[in-house]
């Protein structure tokens, strides 16, 4: 059975064979954390290239299955970014996300997936530096944990 990995990054970003780079999948809510990521990029704040961003209208759009599917498809870590409680463009999306992600954390623990492989962060549109810090910290932790392999 052909092992299907999440598509590799374009050749020039490919890490040298020696230094393995994790794949960090991020679901970023369009109004806050995606804008925060944009700000980090625009202000030339370097953050680890292991991140793959999927923009979602709201953190409330993130279905728990999307997180398990990411791990099943070979992601080494998953980050969900949303607006701070009360700032949600749709008023309650992040509350729904928070409730669901509490269950996802519990089930990932039951399945034996290291806690540091999944994070939920509230990052506002102005917090580019926090986005940078979170991504760098998480990709560092993933390097220590090593690749996630469902075999």
């Amino acid at each position: 059975m052909a092992e299907q990995q999440v598509a590799e990054a374009p050749a020039e970003q490919q890490a040298t064979a020696a230094e393995w780079r994790p794949t960090l999948l991020a679901y970023l809510c369009n109004w806050c954390s995606y804008a925060g990521a944009n700000l980090a990029g625009a202000s030339r704040m370097p953050y680890d290239a292991s991140i793959r961003v999927i923009r979602v209208p709201c953190s409330g759009r993130v279905d728990p299955l999307m997180i398990y599917k990411a791990f099943e498809r070979g992601a080494d870590g998953v980050l969900v970014g949303g607006c701070h409680l009360g700032d949600c463009h749709y008023s309650e999306g992040n509350y729904a996300c928070q409730g669901r992600m509490a269950l996802v954390k519990a089930l990932l623990a039951a399945a034996g997936i290291e806690e540091k492989r999944f994070r939920l962060e509230w990052i506002s549109a102005s917090e580019g530096s926090i986005f940078q810090a979170v991504v760098n910290e998480m990709s560092e932790q993933l390097r220590e944990l090593g690749p996630f392999e469902l075999k």
């Binding site: 059975m1 052909a2 299907q4 598509a7």
Partner: protein, 343 residues
Amino acid sequence: MDRLKILKSRLPDWLGKLRAQAAVYAPVERAGVTCFARLAPGDEPQLDYGNTDTPLKEVLFPQTECLITWQRTPEGLQVQEVDTSEPTVIFGARPCDVTGLRFLDRAFRLGGIEDPYWVRRRDKTTVISLVCPHPVPGCFGPSAGVNETSPEGADVVLTDIGSAYVVEVKSEQGQAAVDLASDAFTSAAEEDLIAAREAGETLLAELAEQAIDLEEPEARAKAFLQSPAWEQVWNRCLSCGICAFLCPTCHCFDICDQSCRGGGERIRCYDTCSSKIYTKQAGGHNARPTAKERLTQRVMHKFSYGPERLGVLGCVGCGRCRRCPVDIDLQLELSRVEVKEPV
């Protein structure tokens, strides 16, 4: 062919020689479940088992197998078939499971069109059957036409007589398998043959107590589907896949694509006529909308269509379908029906 004998202590030699030539599948225990698995180096088969929880058919008709792979290339679509067949030895199979292979073999060659994935594997497989010392609770092989002491379709049959097995070779493939370790075999003495026969007789006597009446299956099936008991049976069916996936003679499968960027594979996997979406067409039409039609198909395929088209019953009496969560035992229900004239 005269009967041979092999001491249990020489079994590892024979297995070692077999493993050098072919992939050997034997019953092993995996997390509390016994199944037929490919012996990895250092794996020892567990031959003191009743019957495997999942059926022998898994070896030749896996739960999921890749049929073709494709890639989108600049020169266009490239499509290839997949062939994972290899010389195989099935070691220690129970007579009912071996008899189940016969039904599958005929189904996969029906109408002169051969299913290559099954045929390639089956033609490269040597079946070494192991007669049961005692019946498993709830099995009724003889009532379903299974020869419990020398099953049809086996290349070699082993009968346990304590410290050794009496060996019956039934085909050239079987003879070839024995010749691989001919020094491990001696010709069976008279008392060995008597011991083997007695073991067979005690087994058949114990099986007789679990026997049920499945004569005239076609008439029985039709009569059962009109009996009051039938109403309760299909009403409680949960439409799950236990009875089909555990059954040595069920061969229904689904085909679907699993694709990723730039290519993919087309797999086939077990399917069951009891599933709610088995005959559901795009646009919503479903020829078998309730469990009544679906379970009718199961009864008729095994006890009417199978015998009519393939000449053999679609049941080998292994008793695995009694794992039904709502206690549906079709064979018992059929045996209780008094058979009127074929209606």
